[in-house]
Amino acid sequence: MEELVKRAKKEDENAFNELILTMKEELYLIAKSKLYSEDDIADAMQETILQCFKNLHRLKDNKFFKTWVIRILINECNKIHKKKRKYSISFEDKEFEKYIKVEENYDETIGFDVLIRNLDSEEKLILTLYYCSGYTTKEISKILKKNEGTIRSKISRSKDKLKKQYEGD
């Protein structure tokens, strides 16, 4: 990845694209943990890509590229989330809830985002970084700027919640 970052810094657009495409699934899951609407997720990812492209030359240490992108994405998600608080829940969402039962049953092919969908935003984000991105609790504490102990307790609490949710399956 560092080699790609190096090339991207030299205005190799293909290298930049490759970097983003390599991370896109991870970025999507992180955004999804913070935001509900796909429009918002798309907005956050778009703005993150543009910010990264615009400011890449200012990244001093190439090895921190991934962390840097994730932090930017989280900031963008926070901004959108803050704006959206002013809106009430959309008509469409309520209509869906009326007609379609949310599936609680677990099957082996269930997606990670679906598995954790009933957790709160922060718990989803931490689990995503831990299980999908493969970060350690220490690394997550750096990314989210929270105590490592807090991260560990969040993971533990989240798993307890999931156990209760899927109990009896």
Binding site: E38, D39, N55, E92, Y106, S121, Y131
Partner: protein, 567 residues
């Protein structure tokens, strides 16, 4: 009971299906990222201004009369698509529609109403007072005119048609700002409106209200915020950190200007790797501030500079208010950890983190307030003032120019419809798995060609829509458009809405795909309505549209082509 650890590990390693809408936006952004860069716009602006100087010999007023064209050639573009040469023939001049507030005058000069596109051309003039109010707008990309704002955070998400407000997605609106001189700007506000907004009407009224002139840079410009605050209170010095050098805010800010403070910190061998990460992310993600916005950040910084008797203070950033609150409270309650704070003062912190209501906020702060010393109360008040300055809309609003007045513009498609043709097409269906793609309508207006497509997915289930492991899953759907000689044509494509017809007959429409990933259904029919727009070229008799599917492997699968007559 399930082994939750194993479930998470397994699911975490599984391939993720990114929804079409998001995938499409990623691809679009990667393909067009240069157009969003500062350099791109500066080059463009320089080119435009140079053209104006050459063609019109510096006469701005003559330029305005041409309605977005120079020498008959359009200078506007819509997501990379130039309008046709005939754009200027359909410009409708508007007279005596001006609003002046606080030295800013916004005048609607003309409109164009196509069978889809609507363009409003404004002249914006700013006198010295207005420019002072807005702050630094040397980079014209930071200047935005916000219309129909209903959020308190200026944006252009809405349009009001015959009194009804519609949310317009970012793929259907575009604002182009051009600097004509230090005091004059051109604003082109463009929308793409479908029948969902216009309800089939050819004559309608668009209202542009809640108008404000905004310097988006101010949103991020902490230096200006700090400078402004300093004018009122010297105490801001105490809120900034500096490593025992007794520097004032002004001195620190001066350092910021040439990055020397940043470099000084960066080159300090005592700085740990983990702090480098914090510094890197904080610095770059917010553009222009060295800032530490969380307890961890503050602690890390304190640790590194402990030997230098660092005085820590907050440089708060625009972020969730509860995060700011955490920082503030943690800092001024040295004896309490952030976790204890959550436990003791926010009994249900998780719900607070989702939605901090005013009531909850008041209750929590009141409880803390009672336990605080007078000195701490004073300090807290001071910092909350700072927070409110930084905090999004309220802070930035002080710098915005809120215009007193509205525009009510009667628009009619009738003129352009006289020269618009709906071209009959022979029935063609392209199929992929359980999806059939059909051309609904092809409309050729003098300035654009609009292709409406319907994709119908039969026997759709939530799995087949969202999960790649399903055999009926369809990847990213997009379209290539070619001219008769096989040249790829620039086009803009977007999804207008989705309709889901459930097996019990219930029909649900939505204009974004909110919620679909969290829902379960089967035996449904999903209908996607897509638009493709290209520049109208009168020399073309037909075009070729080739639908493609981007599979999860990243490969593109081309589907059968559709020949579309344009005459």
């Amino acid at each position: 009971m399930k082994d939750i650890e194993k479930m998470l590990e397994t699911a975490g390693k599984r391939h993720i299906d990114i929804p079409l809408k998001v995938e499409h936006r990623i691809q679009y952004t990667l393909q067009n990222k240069n157009k969003n860069s500062w350099r791109y716009y500066m080059k463009k602006i320089v080119t435009v201004i140079a053209s104006i100087m050459i063609v019109l010999i510096g006469s701005v007023s003559v330029y305005a009369a041409f309605g977005g064209t120079i020498g008959g050639k359009p200078v506007l573009d819509w997501f990379g698509i130039d309008f046709s040469d005939r754009y200027s023939e359909y410009v409708v001049p508007i007279e005596n529609e001006s609003i002046t507030t606080d030295g800013a005058t916004l005048s609607l000069i003309n409109t164009v109403c196509d069978d889809g596109f609507i363009t409003f051309e404004f002249d914006l003039t700013l006198n010295e007072d207005a420019k002072k109010q807005l702050g630094n707008i040397a980079d014209v990309e930071n200047l935005v005119v916000s219309f129909n704002d209903r959020t308190g955070i200026s944006n252009n998400n809405n349009i009001q048609i015959d009194g009804k407000l519609y949310d317009i997605s970012s793929s259907k609106r575009h604002q182009q700002v051009m600097k004509i001189s230090d005091y004059e700007y051109k604003i082109y506000q463009m929308y793409f409106l479908t029948d969902d907004e216009l309800q089939g009407k050819n004559n309608f009224t668009v209202t542009l209200d809640n108008i404000s002139i905004v310097n988006m840079n101010e949103k991020k410009d902490f230096k200006s915020r700090i400078r402004n605050y300093k004018k009122d209170s010297e105490s801001i010095d105490q809120l900034l950190y500096k490593s025992g050098s007794n520097q004032t805010v002004d001195e620190i800010l001066k350092d910021y200007d040439d990055n020397s403070t940043y470099l000084q910190i960066k080159n300090d061998p005592n700085i740990s790797d983990e702090f480098q990460v914090l510094l890197e992310t904080a610095w770059y993600s917010d553009g222009n501030s060295i800032l530490l916005d969380t307890q961890t950040g503050l602690k890390t910084f304190a640790k590194n500079y402990k030997s230098k008797e660092l005085t820590i203070a907050d440089v708060l950033k625009e972020n969730n208010i509860e995060e700011d609150l955490e920082t503030i409270l943690a800092k001024y309650r040295d004896d309490i950890t952030i976790d204890e704070l959550r436990e003791n003062y926010f009994s249900d912190y998780n719900s607070v983190s989702k939605e901090l209501s005013l009531e909850e906020y008041a209750m929590a702060t009141d409880k803390i307030d009672k336990e605080m010393s007078t000195e701490r109360k004073a300090k807290r008040k001071e910092i909350f003032t700072l927070v409110s300055l930084y905090d999004g809309a309220d802070g930035r609003k002080e710098k915005d120019i809120i215009m007193n007045g509205n525009f009510n513009i009667n628009l009619s498609k009738n003129t352009i419809l006289d020269d618009t043709n709906v071209i009959p097409q022979k029935s063609q269906t392209v199929s992929y798995k359980k999806m059939d793609i059909n051309i609904d309508k092809v409309t050729v207006t003098p300035i654009q060609t609009i292709i409406t497509l319907t994709s119908t997915i039969n026997n759709a289930s939530s799995d087949s829509i969202t999960h790649a492991y399903d055999k009926d899953y369809i990847g990213l759907l997009g379209y290539y458009v070619y001219d008769e000689e096989g040249n790829l044509l620039t086009n803009h494509q977007f999804e207008q809405k989705r309709t889901l017809i459930l097996d019990n007959g219930k029909t649900i429409e939505w204009y974004s795909s909110d919620g679909v990933n969290n829902l379960t259904f089967s035996n449904a029919t999903m209908i996607l309505k897509n638009y493709i727009t290209i520049r109208t070229d009168e020399n073309l008799d037909s075009i070729k549209v080739v639908p493609y599917i981007q599979e999860t492997s990243g490969n593109y699968q081309l589907l059968d082509s559709i020949i579309i007559k344009t005459k």
